[in-house]
Symmetry: C2
Subunit: 164 residues, 2 copies
DNA sequence: CCGATACTTGACTAATTTGTCATATTTCGA
DNA sequence: TCGAAATATGACAAATTAGTCAAGTATCGG
């Protein structure tokens, strides 16, 4: 179980934009890359993904750059991670067995399907409540904020089907 | 955020062993492969990983096979996943930046480090309580069991540092 | 002790994910 | 209108992960 590089770096990049005052102001790829110690080309690629996901908007030409398309308070960590790479805890794995059969015999009574399902819900419940404006506080504040979130209620209601 | 193929298939394979009555009896690679619709060679590779992680033991020679090294009740989902592939939500990503610098400037005040840390704790808290004997029940039972686990307490105490 | 069965090992190939490069397009300002 | 500064795009190269192959070692039964 791991987070992809795109998710890690993409979250860092969008947090650079979110931390900007005002958050509607824009920042060039070069600036973001410098802050995050990434190559500008790579950051450019990541930002295109974020743009296609509707989380940032680009301004082209001289004095161009990127800015958030919505205020930090309206963007959740769950959404950012979903845009940067599907969250997939085995749900679709039944379809891609290697070699032999293309049919998942577990379909009727699968031992681990409910596990992936509930675990995804569980994680989503956490990330969906965490917004960018909570993450741009100083480190200690972030920890406090996160811990507060956790202590709300464990799983309020399985409202959303998945981390997509 | 995704689970690796090894984790998915490895968990399925060890559940085959756990479901065996008695759970100390053994099963050949061929049998497991047939049940899970995987190739025997691939299952063999997965089982070697599980053996090296101390979760199963092998019996060589004719009439050989694999068996759990401990009762299903004493093996958690967290342990199985950890043996099959490190659970790594960005903790170590600071070290492997591409290109430019090899030093993480976030070390002092990192915005997403606390996120990965607490999220890992959160997930671990869930998976650590879920044992193989809970997972080998019929599907409906598994869902019920999982839901019960969730409703215990959200985060009892950050006892274990990580999902390793 | 020989052969069949089953696990062991390491090297190899294939697929996916990461990251780079070259080139095109947009915009501003002199 | 031309050049500099910026994003856009698709093809490519590198690294990692997935899965296969072949040749080995252990054990049992006859």
């Amino acid at each position: 179980m791991k987070i992809t590089a795109m998710q890690e770096y993409g979250l860092r990049c969008i947090l650079q934009l979110a931390a900007r005052k005002p958050s509607t102001s824009h920042m060039t790829v070069r600036e973001i890359a410098k802050q995050e110690h990434l190559t500008p080309v790579y950051v450019a690629k990541i930002l295109v993904t974020l743009r296609r996901g509707g989380l940032v908007k680009s301004i082209r030409g001289v004095n161009g750059g990127y800015a958030l398309s919505r205020p930090p308070r309206e963007i959740s960590a769950a959404r950012v991670l979903a845009v940067l790479g599907k969250v997939d805890l085995g749900k679709n794995l039944c379809k891609r067995f290697p070699g032999m059969s293309s049919h998942c015999t577990h379909s009727g009574d699968c031992r681990i399907r409910p596990l992936w399902y509930v675990l995804t819900q569980y994680i989503y419940n956490f990330l969906d409540r965490l917004t960018l404006d909570q993450l741009i506080q100083e480190e200690a504040g972030v920890s406090r904020e996160i811990r507060r979130l956790q202590n709300q209620n464990p799983l309020p209601a399985p409202k959303t089907p998945a981390l997509v």
